[in-house]
Amino acid sequence: MASPEPSGKTLEEPPVPPGSSPGLSAEDRLVLQRIAAGDEKAFLALVERNHRAMVRVALSYVPSEAIAEEVVQEAWIGIVQGIAKFEGRCPLRAWMFRILVNCARMRGGREARSTPFSSLAPVDSDAPPSPETFRPPDDPRWPGHWAQGPEPWADERLFNAEAARRIRSEIERLPPNQRQVITLRDIEDWDSSEVCELLGISEANQRVLLHRARTRVRKALAGWARRAEP
């Protein structure tokens, strides 16, 4: 990598001997072997683990769930066709999602002009706004401290179907880059380094996006999750 190549020819990556692929975990390697051998179960397991996350990521590039499903299907075709030639310089998942993002970007570019992104849709506020506020910066005693702190939640409500619906709907309204980050980090439980690599952003930028997204999701729950007055 260090010495510049003579003549303008592109630097070709050296072939990777089987079994020594640097980016691959033992598990990845096994999955790849099975899929290359035509094992349907291994393929379906890969689908099961990744499909929903792929749809969510695709949704941040295209305007509707239907189109996102099409994009993901297209990506799966690319993955299946490329898998025999995949040499494992990066983890399998990183490679798969790179194919997905390419498909989604291409499709997103075509759709962008015709349909508005769902994130631009008006916000429906069927829950009371979260009540917390801060004191103004010129407050004589406690500038920037709580004027009205967050009200306690009825925690058990956070794990029912209505909470899931509210979270999903708020995530759909986030700007695409925030949506991508919260989807991969908080729904799919990816490491920050994987997310940064896929999206081509810095760790610091990733944290800013994640924080904004989490803040909005918390806020979307706050008024609704408030413990009822005794």
Binding site: E132, F159, A204, L210
Partner: protein
């Protein structure tokens, strides 16, 4: 609900630092200031608790079932490739 005693960091700042805090990305000095603030401030402590709950509840969205038609369609893609390969 405001802090019971003066601290050198305002609630409004604390709230903005919480993801960095949870990610372990704060420098030691800032982390210490933030932890001291949390000890004294029930409002920020509750906010942090709610943020953690939010993260936990968001995580549960991954448990959704894969629809049967998706499974069938992708299996077709796979079989088509296998037969062509």
């Amino acid at each position: 609900m405001s802090a019971a005693r003066p601290t050198d960091i305002a609630c409004q700042e604390v709230v903005e630092l919480l993801t960095d805090f949870l990610e372990g990305a704060l420098d030691r000095k800032t982390r210490t200031r933030l932890e001291q603030h949390l000890v004294l401030c029930p409002g920020c402590t509750e906010y942090l608790r709610q943020l953690r709950l939010t993260i936990g509840a968001t995580r549960r969205l991954s448990e959704a079932e894969l629809p049967e038609h998706v499974r069938t369609a992708l299996l077709d893609v796979f079989r088509h490739w296998r037969e062509g390969a």
